[in-house]
C-alpha cells in the first residue's frame, strides 16, 4: 500500500471502471454482463449449461404438473370446505363483508402511511387471478369471485382516496391518522363482531377462516400481554421482574404443541368454555412470552441517556415509557416481532394436529380422504403450501414497509 502514490502520477484522475462502462449502449453492456456472469471460462460455461438444463427440466416438470398432470378439481370442488368448512352457508355474506373490511383497512393503511409499488400491484394481480380461477372454476361460485373483486375494488378506492390527502402535518392529516389508526386498533374485535354477531357461533369458525382468525388473535393478544411483560421483566421491583421472568421462562419451556394439550385437557377442567377460545388463549399466552423477549432485547439496546433525558425534561416514569422508550423499542423489535407473527401463522395448523379443530390444512386432509380425490394428495398440499406462503410473504413485505416508513428518524 505504501508505494501506491508513486504508481499514480499526480493530477491524473482514474475513473472507476464501471463509470466508463455505464456510458456504452445497453446491447454492449448486456453482452458484457452475459459473458462475465454466465460464460466467464470453459468451466464456468459448462456449469452454466448444466444449471440451465436442470432448471429447465424442473420448470418443465412443474409446468407439466400444474397445467396438465394435476387434478385441481380437488381444490375447486372442495373450495367451500377449504375456505370456511362448517361455517353456516346462510351467514356466508359475513365472510365477504369481513374480507371487504380487511381489504378496506389495507387500502386505508397504505394510503395513509405508505404507497403501493409495482410489486404490490403484481402481487394483488397474481393472487387475484389465482383466487378468481379457483372460485369461478366450474361456474358454481361466480358470486364469490364477484365479492372478491369488489373487495379488491374497495381496497383500491380507499387507497386512492386516502393517498390524495397531503402528507404534510395539519389538522386533516392528523384526523386521517387518528381515524385510520383507531380503525386498525379496533380491527380485530370489529372483524370478530362482523363474523359472529349473527347466527354463527365461534365453534363454527372453520377452514382457512379459522387460520385467519387464530393467527391475528395470537399476534395481537401476544403483543397486548407481551409488552407489559417485557416492561415488567426490566422493572427494578424484584417481585414484578421475577414474576414476569417466571412467566416467560415457563411458557418457553414447552413447545406450543404441549400448551395446546394443556388447552385441550387441563384448561377444560379449570375454565371450560369453547375449545376454540381456549386455543386462542393459549396461542396468545404462548406468543406473548416470545414477543416479550424480543421487546426486552430492544429495551436493553436503548441508550441509558434516553431515560435520563426524559427524566431531565420532567417526564414521569410512565410518560417516559409511553412517549420515549416504547416507541423506540417497538420500532427496533419489528423484525423479531414479525418473525414471531409468521411463526404463529404457520403454527395455526397445529390446531388440527392436536385439537379436534379443522383449519385449512385439516380440511385439506378431509378432502384427500374423499374417495374421488384419493390420488390428489399432492395437489391439495401444494395448494395449502402456496396459500400459507402467500400470507407469510405478505406479512414480511408489510414488515419491511413498516420498517422503512418508520425509519425516518433512525440514528
Amino acid at each position: 500500500m505504501a508505494d501506491m502514490p508513486m504508481q499514480q502520477p499526480p493530477g491524473r484522475i482514474i475513473l472507476p471502471p464501471h463509470r466508463e462502462r455505464a456510458r456504452r449502449p445497453f446491447s454492449v453492456r448486456a453482452r458484457e454482463w452475459v459473458r462475465r456472469n454466465l460464460f466467464p471460462s470453459t468451466g464456468g460455461t459448462l456449469l452454466t449449461i448444466a444449471a440451465a438444463v436442470v432448471l429447465g427440466l424442473l420448470l418443465i416438470g412443474v409446468l407439466w404438473f400444474v397445467f396438465i398432470d394435476a387434478n385441481w378439481r380437488i381444490i375447486t370442488v372442495n373450495r367451500w370446505l377449504l375456505f370456511a368448512g362448517g361455517f353456516p352457508r346462510e351467514e356466508a355474506w359475513r365472510l365477504w363483508v369481513g374480507m371487504g373490511f380487511v381489504f378496506l383497512l389495507i387500502g386505508l393503511t397504505y394510503g395513509t402511511w405508505s404507497s403501493f409499488g409495482r410489486r404490490d400491484h403484481l402481487f394483488v394481480a397474481v393472487s387475484g387471478v389465482f383466487v378468481v380461477f379457483i372460485m369461478a372454476h366450474g361456474g358454481t361460485a361466480i358470486w364469490s369471485s364477484v365479492w372478491f373483486l369488489l373487495a379488491v375494488g374497495v381496497m383500491y378506492l380507499a387507497y386512492a382516496l386516502t393517498a390524495r390527502i397531503p402528507r404534510e402535518l395539519g389538522p386533516i392529516r392528523t384526523l386521517q391518522q387518528r381515524v385510520v389508526g383507531g380503525l386498525l386498533i379496533a380491527s380485530l374485535p370489529l372483524a370478530l363482531v362482523i363474523l359472529l354477531s349473527g347466527g354463527a357461533s365461534v365453534r363454527q369458525l372453520d377452514g382457512f377462516v379459522l387460520n385467519l382468525v387464530l393467527a391475528p388473535v395470537g399476534i395481537v393478544g401476544g403483543l397486548v400481554i407481551g409488552i407489559p411483560l417485557a416492561i415488567g421483566r426490566a422493572s427494578t421491583m424484584k417481585t414484578i421482574s421475577w414474576t414476569c421472568t417466571a412467566y416467560i421462562e415457563v411458557v418457553r419451556g414447552a413447545p406450543l404443541l404441549g400448551w395446546l394439550f394443556v388447552a385441550l385437557f387441563i384448561l377444560d377442567d379449570v375454565i371450560g368454555g369453547e375449545l376454540i377460545v381456549r386455543a386462542m388463549v393459549v396461542m396468545a399466552v404462548f406468543t406473548a412470552a416470545y414477543m416479550a423477549e424480543s421487546i426486552r432485547g430492544a429495551l436493553q439496546a436503548l441508550p441509558r441517556g434516553q431515560f435520563e433525558a426524559a427524566h431531565a425534561v420532567g417526564l414521569s416514569r410512565m410518560q417516559a415509557l409511553r412517549l420515549i422508550i416504547m416507541p423506540q423499542a417497538l420500532r427496533i423489535s419489528i423484525p423479531p416481532i414479525v418473525g414471531q407473527a409468521i411463526a404463529i401463522w404457520k403454527d395455526t395448523t397445529l390446531v388440527t394436529i392436536i385439537l379436534p379443530l379443522r383449519e385449512l390444512k385439516g380440511n385439506a386432509d378431509s378432502a384427500i380422504a374423499q374417495r374421488e380425490f384419493i390420488d390428489d394428495r399432492i395437489e391439495a398440499y401444494i395448494f395449502v403450501a402456496v396459500v400459507f406462503w402467500a400470507v407469510a410473504f405478505m406479512m414480511s413485505r408489510i414488515s419491511q414497509r413498516i420498517e422503512r416508513t418508520l425509519g425516518v428518524g433512525e440514528r
Binding site: G305, Q306, A309, V313, G314, L323, Q328, E410
Partner: protein, 262 residues
Amino acid sequence: MTTHAGVTDAAADGDRLADSQNIIVAENVDKWFGDFQALDNVTMNVREHEIVVILGPSGSGKSTFIRCLNRLEEHDAGRIIIDNIEMNDDVRNLNAIRSEVGMVFQQFNLFPHLSVLGNITLGPQKVRHMPKAEAQQLAMQHLERVGIPEQADKYPAQLSGGQQQRVAIARALAMQPKIMLFDEPTSALDPEMIKEVLDVMRELAESGMTMIVVTHEMGFAREVADRLVFFDEGALVEQGTPQHFFENPEEERTKLFLSQIL
C-alpha cells in the same frame, strides 16, 4: 481540604451577584456506588445568576455531583436544597425540582424518533400541559435563540453534532428552568462545532441564567465563569475566581491538573 479563597473578595463579580440568594445549597454530600465512594463530603453553594464551572480529572465525580442536583443519582448522605426545596424521597419535591433544573448532556440524548420541534415541545406539553400551538410557538422562540429555527422539522439524525447540542439546549430551556446544568456539552463535538455551542452558552450566561458547567474549555471558564470549582477523587478540592485559579492556585492537586490541561 476545601478552601474558599477568592469567593468573598471577588470584587469584579460582586456587583452582578450582589443581592443574589443561594439557589443551590449542597451540604456534606456523599455518594457511593457499591463500596466505591464517588462523592466525598461535598459542600457547595451556588447563587442565583451565578456561573460555576467545574473542573477536574476524569472520574473525579463531576458528573455524579451535578446528576445529584436533579436526582439522576440519589445522594447517600448530606443535604441538597434547590430553590428552597429539599431533595428527598417526596415525589412532589422531585418533580418540582426537575422542572426548575434543565440539563444538557455530553451525548445530547435527543429523542431520535421525534422531530426537532417534537423534542422541544414534549416537556411543555406533557409536563406543563401547555396547548400544542403555544408549545410550538415557545419551541420556535428557543430554536431562534439557539440560532437554528430552520431545522424545526428535521430529525436529530439529520443534524450535525453542534446543531443537535443546540437543540438539546433549546429543549431544556423550553421548560423555563431557573438553573441549567451542562455536563461536558462540547466534549463529543468536532472541533469546528464547539464554538457555536459555547456561543449559545455564553449568551445564556449573559441573560442571567444560573449555570453549572462541567467542561474542559478553559477559554470559556476564564471568560464566563464567576467561580471555578476543582474536583478530585470525589472531593471538592479548591474553588475561587478564574483569576485566582489561573494565577495562583493553592492546592498541589489543582496545580498539577492545570499544568496538564493548559
